[in-house]
Subunit: 383 residues, 2 copies
């Protein structure tokens, strides 16, 4: 396998794009990535998306997007619930690394805000186990609430101990022009937010949205000197049982651990080498679990990193959600994994202004599908 | 790219499996393929499926299937409407051919009969262009009816001229223990069937169903002498505009032509070398168009092959749908492409009994997503 690099990135603002179609959003991000790379096309297009069939009544989205942008190479559409974006990126990466192709465009795209909230809640629940979880009437946020409740019970945390995760995400989103919720929140607002599924309230949970993010992947040996390329140093993917009750330990993200270990080994680095971590904070509890599974905190001690101010872009030991994370940049589910990749590239290029991690050389992105069932981790390095 | 081979195949009977889950069907086919190959596992699992989210409320089906069979390798779920099966096969093939992996399991699976017919019709329509076709209120069969009506007008065919396609498919399905509709039909039955969307009647159209089909792919150099392996000699994929009205010529399957040409070139063969052709007869008109685009008939002359009895397994110039085709074996949409692959392997192994094509050495399978929008063609060779 040869080494590969990202030479172009593109993204749309995340919002309620009622006047725009899925393919239009995907096209904007893809063409921006090509323009950023100074290239005209690529050998293949990989599209990550979860809900286009259910919400937008459009399947074979790969072909729909290719048609829209006049693309005539190979087309692959990948789905793995909320980790569809990173799964598509990994598939494109493997195609180029293996020599199958010499360039790959990857886009994650999702459009969710045209549908009624009840319809979206129902669609998102399909990330869980339909036969053994949904049949009991539980929603996706309900499953995460069960995990959070157990975690608080097991390790003695209060709900307010999770506030720093959301406060950090919102503080960073203020400086991201593509963020869905670019405003700060306070500890008081966090505590007083409306309850969704106890103990998860509105400010523990990430917002849905419409958006697309894209990247162009080429072999590292083909990178031209004028390109601001970033190396893909490590890629790991792992799965766990799809239902939470089948796991030996519901409070440890086994697939996050495995995928991170694979990415660390491939990149020849460890947690201590990571300058920033774009993690999958769909709910505040997931920030804690991801930090623990990836080696940044002891079991049960994830919230401590937030309380000790170790997650901020400026001066934090392990800055997370530097562009707002899922919580405040937004979570257009199948697109999220590609937003994370794009944001790590921006950090390694030094383009993040107020939330730039000083001297960032190595960044990690981790995208989670379901309640920890499909997890994909990438490590990028500045050249 | 190294040459690859199929060393194991598995399939379930296609039917109304109300008592079984998607993952159960996929698992049966996968474990049968492993058993057939005499192997215990593989490096990666590729799952092709179109409608699990919409009909079965289950997304990230790759993880759900891996969990069910206790699989711990890499998992990729691919979707390209009705060509999801062949798209997944091609992705697995590329992973092994490129050296990325040393073995790949591929399964196509679909479960459609639990849902109300109106719900299935609505779900299948997502294979068409949501923004520019479905918005007009057309159904998927309605789009195919427009193509068939125009074809009959342009080339002067009567509806009865399409009867041989359906009669051949049903005659062959009688001898396939996994077929959905294993009974013969007559020309009279064909003419008198209930109308669905004129000129397409019930016996022009393939039935939906529940089922799964799977194969194990390994590098050809790793094939053990006792294995009944079949070479994958050619693979081609192409896309067209997703909406029919955007095409220069609605009566020519441009993506079938391109994908077949790519497969022919890679396999170093032409139409004259193909001993049997598992084509995508979702509707009888598609049999005619596929035969023309792949070089077996002149433009507008596809029905002539049926009328001249050239499509039968015994003595036909180009036998098609030798196990019943979509029309009578059945069309569990995301699984169909894998049924086609499995059936070509059966023919090249000489396992087809009454419908065995004598001396079959080279077989072709072609899977179509949408109204010709995503088309994947494979050519297999006996070793």
């Amino acid at each position: 396998m040869r080494q590969v690099a990202i030479t172009g990135i593109g993204q749309t603002k995340i919002g309620e794009h009622w006047e725009r179609s899925l393919r239009d959003l995907a096209g904007e991000a893809l063409l921006a990535a090509l323009q950023d790379a100074g290239r005209e096309t690529a050998d293949a297009l990989f599209v990550g998306n979860m809900l286009s069939g259910m919400i937008d009544r459009q399947n074979q989205l790969g072909t729909a997007v290719a048609d829209w942008i006049g693309f005539h190479g190979g087309v692959v559409k990948i789905e793995s619930a909320c980790s569809s974006g990173a799964s598509a990126f990994r598939a494109g990466l493997m195609a180029v690394a293996s020599g199958e192709m010499d360039s790959a465009l990857v886009v994650g795209v999702e459009k969710m805000t045209d549908a009624a909230p009840t319809e979206v809640t129902s669609a998102l629940a399909t990330a869980a186990d339909s036969d053994w979880e949904l049949e009991q009437g539980v929603s996706f946020v309900g499953l995460n609430a069960l995990i959070m409740r157990r975690y608080m019970h097991e390790y003695g945390w209060q709900h307010s101990d999770f506030a720093p995760f959301s406060i950090n995400a919102h503080a960073n989103a203020v400086h991201n022009p593509n963020a869905r919720l670019p405003f700060p929140i306070s500890a008081e607002m966090f505590q007083q937010a409306n309850m969704i599924a106890a103990p998860i309230n509105l400010l523990d949970a990430s917002p849905i949205g419409d958006g697309a993010a894209a990247a162009l992947i080429v072999p590292a040996e083909n990178v031209r000197s004028e390109e601001r390329a970033v190396l893909v140093a490590g890629s790991g993917s792992a799965t766990d049982t799809i239902s939470i009750h089948s796991r030996k330990d519901a409070l440890f993200l086994q697939a996050a651990y495995q995928s991170a270990q694979r990415a660390y080994a491939q990149a020849n680095v460890g947690p201590q080498d990571i300058d920033l971590f774009e993690l999958h904070d769909a709910f505040s509890i997931m920030s804690a679990l991801s930090l623990e599974a990836c080696g940044f905190a002891e079991r049960g001690q994830g919230p401590r990193l937030g309380l000790d101010n170790e997650i901020a872009p400026k001066g934090g030991r392990i800055p997370i959600c530097t562009r707002g994370g899922l919580k405040a940049r937004g979570h257009p589910v199948g697109a999220t994994g590609m937003y994370q990749i794009v944001e790590v590239v921006q950090q390694l290029r030094g383009e993040c202004g107020e939330t730039q991690v000083d001297g960032a050389r190595i960044g990690m992105a981790q995208n989670i599908g379901g309640s920890g069932a499909s997890i994909v981790t990438h490590i990028l390095k500045a050249i």
